[in-house]
Symmetry: C2
Subunit: 364 residues, 2 copies
C-alpha cells in the first residue's frame, strides 16, 4: 500500500441509506457490519404501510408523508414507487455529520458475499477503505489500486501523480445474479457471475461508466449534491435508469472537480433476479435513449467557473435541457427536477458549499 | 461471453520474440506452450557469443551482425545492449504471415505462473484470447472483459458499442516480483505481488498507461509498425524506458485508429528482481523526463489524415521532435530514429499498408 490506511469510522461519520417497500428482514444477515451505524430508511410506496425493522438497529424512517412535509413543493423531485427515492436519504438528515453514505437496496436478494477463502465479506469496511484512500484518475496503474496492501505504483507511473485525488465514490459489484439489462437477462437467464475479481480501480478521467446503485458508497460532502437519482417510476416514462443517471452526472462532475471514482471490491451476493419482463417495460426507452444520452455526457464540458458540486449540477441541468429535450419532453421535466433537487439540497444543508470542505476532505 | 471465441493459432500465425544475452534454459519450462510456435530470438550484445537454445524449438536467431546486414545504415534505430533490441524481431521476418508477436524477456526470472487452483497458466492461450476478442475502449464495463465466459455487458452499456473494436495489444502482468521503478524497489525491497486478479480489461480511450514489455502480445498487422522500443542502452542517456516509450506511442495510435489495448491476465511469474542500483542509473533521467513526456502524450492529437499506423507514427515523430526536444537533445535523435524505424519497417514489409488488413483483422 502506497501510504494510506483506513480507520474505522465513527457512528456519526457513516450513514446507510436503504430504500424499501417491505420489511427489512435482510438486515439480520448484515447485523455484525451495520449495527454500529445509523440507518436512514426511505420507505417507498404507500406510506400507511408499516415497515418492520429488526430490533437493535439505530435508524430513522422517512415515508412519503415525511418527504412531502420536509421538502414541501420541492418533494416533486423525489421519485415515487422507484428506488430513485433513495436520494432523499442523503439530503434528508442535515444535522448529522454524514461523511459517507452507503446505498443498499431493499431486496431480500441482497446478501453478504463470501471471499474465495469462504469468509464473509465486510462490504462496509472495503467501501470505507476505498473512500478514505485516494483515487488515481489521471494515469492508469496496471496493478490497480496502488493504495492497497501489497500494491503500489508500477514503473513508469509519474511521481507527481502518486498523491492521487480525493475519492468521492466507491462502486461495489455483485456476485451470482449479474446486473444485466432486460434483453441480456432474457437471452441468458442462467448466467451467474462466479468470478471474484480481487481488484479496486479508479475509473480514468474522461471515461463514463454504468453505475449501479445496489452497492454504492460515496462521500456526501464531496459529491452528495450530485447524487440525485432522477425522476423514475410512478408517472415517469422510464425506470431502472435512476442509478445510471446519477452515475453519468457524478462522473462528469468528479472529472471536472478533480475527484475520484473507484469500482471493483466490495462484492455483495445477489440471490434473486428481478423479473426481466417487468424490467423490459421499465427500461425500453432508456435502452434507445442512452444511445444519445451517453455521447452527450461523454462530450459535456463544464465551465471553469463551476467550482462547487451545486454549481456544476445546476450547469449540467441547463445542458440537459438544451441538448436532451429534443429526445423527449421528459428531459425538460428532468432538468427542472435537477434544479429543484439542488434547491432542496441547499435548503437542507445550509452550510452550503460542499467544496469548502474539500481541503480537509478524506483521502488527503 | 458475449459472442467471441478464441481458436488455437496456426504455427505461422504466431511468433514469439525473445531478446536475450544468455542461454535460453528458461525455455524448458515453457516447452509445452511454446514448442508448437516459431521463436525469433534477438541476441543482444556481443555477436560472437553463442546462445544456447534448448533442443526441439523452431527458431531463428538474429545477432547484431545480422541486424546490421539486414537493415544496413537503418540498423542505427535498433538499440544495442538493451532489451529494446527486441523490436527488430517483429520487423525482421517479413515472409511469414505473423499475426501475433509475443515479447518475452530473456531472464531466468521469467517463469510459468500458477493460477489460484495451482495449475500452470498458459500465458500464450490467454494472450491469444485477448487479441482475438474485441476491446471496448469507448465505455467502461464494470464486469471487465465482456467477452470472457460467464461475463457480458452490464445494464446501462450502450448496445451500439457492444461489437467492440479490434484488439491490437494484450498486456499481461507479473506475480511475485512486481514491476517497480528503482526508487520503489529501494524503498520496498521485500514487497511481492501475491494478488491474482482474475480480470482482463480494456484501457479506455484517452487513457495512457505504463506498458511493460515483459509479457506482451500484439497483433503485428494492426500495430506492429508502432511497436518500436526507442533508443536505449549503449550510447543512450536512459534505459528501462523502452517499453514505456512503445506503450505511450501505441496507445495514442490505437486511440486514433479505433483499436483496443487490454491489460490484466495472463500472469507470468517473475522470480528474480533486477538490481535497483543499476536500475536507478538507467532510469533516473526517465523519472523526471516522464513528468513532461506523459502530459505530451496525453494531449497529442493526430490529424485525421493519418490513416495507417505508419502515417500516425511518422506524424508522432514530428511532434516528438517539435515538443520534446527542448527537454534534451536526445529526443531529436529519438525522433529521427522513429522515422528510420518506419523506413526499415516499410522496407521489410513491402505490402505496406497495415490498415488495409484492418477490415479483415482479428476480432471482427
Amino acid at each position: 500500500m502506497a501510504s494510506h490506511k483506513s480507520t474505522p469510522l465513527l457512528k456519526d461519520e457513516l450513514d446507510i441509506v436503504i430504500p424499501t417497500i417491505r420489511n427489512l428482514d435482510f438486515l439480520e444477515m448484515w447485523r455484525p457490519f451495520f449495527e454500529q451505524y445509523h440507518l436512514i430508511i426511505v420507505q417507498d410506496g404507500d406510506p400507511s404501510k408499516t415497515i418492520k425493522v429488526p430490533e437493535g438497529f439505530d435508524y430513522e424512517l422517512y415515508n412519503r408523508n415525511d418527504i412531502n412535509r420536509i421538502l414541501g413543493p420541492k418533494a416533486s423531485c423525489i421519485s415515487f414507487k422507484d428506488s430513485a427515492c433513495r436520494c432523499f436519504g442523503s439530503t434528508g438528515d442535515s444535522k448529522s455529520e454524514i461523511i459517507i453514505t452507503v446505498h443498499v437496496v431493499d431486496s431480500d436478494g441482497w446478501m453478504v458475499a463470501k471471499n474465495p477463502s469462504g469468509e464473509d465479506i465486510n462490504a462496509l469496511e472495503q467501501h470505507i477503505h476505498n473512500l478514505l484512500s485516494p483515487s488515481t484518475p489521471h494515469f492508469f496503474n496496471t496493478l490497480y489500486d496502488p493504495y492497497r496492501d501489497g500494491a503500489d505504483f508500477v514503473r513508469g507511473y509519474p511521481f507527481s501523480l502518486r498523491e492521487g485525488v480525493p475519492t468521492a465514490v466507491s462502486h461495489g459489484l455483485w456476485l451470482n445474479i449479474p446486473d444485466y439489462d432486460a434483453p441480456t437477462q432474457l437471452v441468458k437467464p442462467r448466467e451467474r457471475n462466479t468470478r471474484y475479481v480481487d481488484a479496486v480501480l479508479t475509473i480514468p478521467k474522461g471515461t463514463i461508466f454504468p453505475m449501479c446503485g445496489m452497492n454504492l458508497a460515496f462521500n456526501r460532502d464531496l459529491i452528495g449534491a450530485a447524487m440525485y437519482f432522477g425522476l423514475m417510476g410512478d408517472g415517469q416514462p422510464i425506470g431502472r435508469y435512476d442509478d445510471m443517471w446519477a452515475g453519468w452526472c457524478i462522473k462528469v462532475i468528479c472529472d471536472h472537480l478533480n475527484l475520484g471514482v473507484k469500482t471493483g471490491l466490495p462484492y455483495i451476493w445477489h440471490s434473486k433476479a428481478s423479473n426481466p419482463f417487468v424490467n423490459l417495460k421499465k427500461e425500453y426507452k432508456g435502452i434507445y435513449w442512452q444511445e444519445e444520452i451517453i455521447p452527450f455526457f461523454q462530450s459535456v464540458k463544464l465551465p471553469k467557473e463551476c467550482k462547487t458540486v451545486q454549481e456544476c449540477y445546476t450547469e449540467l441541468a441547463k445542458l440537459v435541457k438544451g441538448k436532451l429535450s429534443s429526445i423527449d419532453p421528459y428531459f425538460t421535466k428532468l432538468a427542472d427536477a435537477m434544479v429543484t433537487w439542488i434547491e432542496a439540497w441547499d435548503e437542507l444543508n445550509p452550510s452550503g458549499d460542499a467544496s469548502a470542505k474539500l481541503a480537509n476532505g478524506v483521502g488527503k
